[in-house]
Amino acid sequence: MSTTATTDSAKPSAIRKMAPQELLRVEGITKVYDGSVKAVDNISLTVATGEIFALLGGSGCGKSTLLRMLAGFEKPTNGKIFLAGKDITDLPAYKRPINMMFQSYALFPHLSVWENIAFGLRRDDMAKGDIAERVESMLSLVQLDKFAKRKPHQLSGGQQQRVALARSLAKRPKLLLLDEPLGALDKKLREKTQLELVNIIEEVGVTCVLVTHDQEEAMTMASRIAVMSEGSFMQVGSPDEVYEMPNSRQVADFIGNVNIFDGIIEEDESDHVTIRCEECLHYVGHGISGNVGMSVGVALRPEKITLSKEQPQSEYNWCAGEVVEIVYFGAHTTYHLKLDSGKVIKAQELNNTRDLSCGLTWGDRAYAHWNDMAMVVLTY
């Protein structure tokens, strides 16, 4: 027991440390609208205290519905929700120790910033002095002390977003729900605000469930991500797990850029696999669960590909093509390579010197190669 504790604390906590304690448990939750639309389909999940858990998925996949069931605005058709061990499935929203920060904020337009933040506190039997103290501390947490008297329409988008955050944190909820918290901000402000938001959440130490359709946002903010599609979870894992080890084509495709080759397993050993594709031969340096002759997909991230003008000596893990497009991003450049089969792949090169890294230009013949741990084999 004590040994585990020491190894735990010895680990560098790059991502926030996961407390072992479970806060939220959802068991087989389903929501059917109007008897036919299955918005959420038999989802189970647990969220530990202190985690930031992101629900990531395309439009209409049921993220908001799941979140609204947690908040208590929708009644699940089936399944149970437990918070800190207590069954809250039938508890109305106003009795749950859960607060939500709404998409587009839903600030009360007739109340000042101060009154908006105090709104939830006034519903509890809290002494006047305590309310004032709590509101002041919330205001300074989100750095809006100067704006206490303003009405919501007298604030910019970013400021409104911070008021909404302060309002949802004021009651010290056990669980904070965030529905597209940064959806209404422009891109530049959003990136700045993501980190601010995480800092505030960590300072308060509240557990969060966050809905977003922006994978970068999920990656930056969350300690765990659930990728959703059509009402179900496709994969749940830490950001790096989901990115580096997607379990299906859909996840690989949804998170970041990816090149997917279709192929057939030619050789299946415990320490390596070879996969024959139309374009090239893949040598994967780890075992997989599959059989010879099975058709699979090989996912390769653009940044794991190296481009050169000379043909590689090796007999596998490379292919050749013509440069058809060069997209310069500043920090890196993405090359689109048209392979002889007609397939176009993307390769991303870091611009770590001031001249263009590999001297390739439109129409050049280039060789893309990668190492044997770079790809992920997708069996479905």
Partner: protein, 277 residues
């Protein structure tokens, strides 16, 4: 060419709409007892109005009925609208929604007549209500509720439902949501519903004629009955006073609204320029 036609048309419409009103106001200062012949300017009819007890009593009665019935209309209309917009399924919903808008399309004569029949038989069986102030109020409130419900419903429909959810999320029970969030945001709609039903009641002749009893003549009823006996310039004076009061109210409220709107725009702009500094 088109523009010219448009402008001419507009002028024609304005003349058509406002000529009678302007004439009426001018002739209220006419010394001659003949409504159509101008002799010289005088305040004679205003003096006559001040001494006309019946007319003044009618004005007061009308104001009283308009005030009370529009309060009732707004009250009942708000709850009807709330039930119809916030509760999508309850027994009798369709019935309520169609019933609440029936008075809008039903001719006043029919509404008045059926109400009268009902009241007469009620009085026959129960001995009350006596026709008079109360029965007029009832009729006006009935009609006004339908109008108020329409005004409030449209406001409720455009109100962000997430505000309700936010309030509930922060610990409000359903009635507290209504009292602390919905109602304050509804105030402008309640004011316009009040003004609308007030004017509806103030100028109603048909319902009032059916429902009033002896000694309860509203202003429009008095004007109407006197007009049948031959026009008397005192009526012009009453009308001119009414028009003055209404115009002042309308102009004041539109000035107030456009000021508030401009103020708001300035504040929004200010907020963004503050944020960018």
């Amino acid at each position: 060419m088109n523009k010219l036609f448009g402008r001419a048309w507009m002028i024609a419409v304005y003349i058509f709409l406002y000529m009678p009103i302007v004439t009426l106001v001018i002739y209220s200062f006419n010394a001659s007892p003949l409504v159509t012949v101008w002799s010289e300017a005088s305040l004679r009819w205003y003096v006559a109005l001040a001494n006309d007890g019946d007319l003044i009593a009618a004005v007061w009665l009308s104001l009283k009925i308009a005030f009370l019935s529009s309060l009732m209309s707004v009250f009942f209309g708000t709850f009807t609208a709330f039930a119809l917009t916030r509760y999508k399924r309850f027994p009798g919903r369709t019935l309520l929604s169609s019933m609440s808008s029936t008075p809008l399309v039903m001719p006043d004569v029919i509404v008045g007549l059926s109400l009268l029949l009902m009241l007469v038989s009620l009085q026959h069986w129960l001995g009350f209500p006596e026709r008079g102030l109360f029965t007029i109020l009832l009729g006006h409130a009935l009609l006004g509720t339908a109008y108020a419900a329409v005004v409030v419903t449209s406001r409720l429909n455009e109100m962000d439902k997430r505000l309700d959810e936010a309030a509930m999320d922060l610990g409000c029970r359903p009635f507290q949501v209504f009292r602390l969030v919905t109602l304050p945001l509804l105030v402008p709609a309640l004011v316009s519903a009040f003004l609308l039903t007030f004017t509806l009641s103030f100028d109603d002749v048909v319902l009032s004629s059916f429902l009033s009893g002896p000694g309860y003549s509203t202003l429009p009823m008095v004007i109407f009955s006197r007009a049948r006996l031959g026009l008397n310039p005192t009526i012009n004076a009453v009308a001119a006073v009414t028009i003055a009061v209404v115009s002042i109210a309308v102009i004041a409220s539109s000035i107030y609204q456009s000021r508030a709107e401009r103020q708001r725009k300035r504040e929004v702009a200010q907020a963004y320029s503050d944020a960018n500094q």
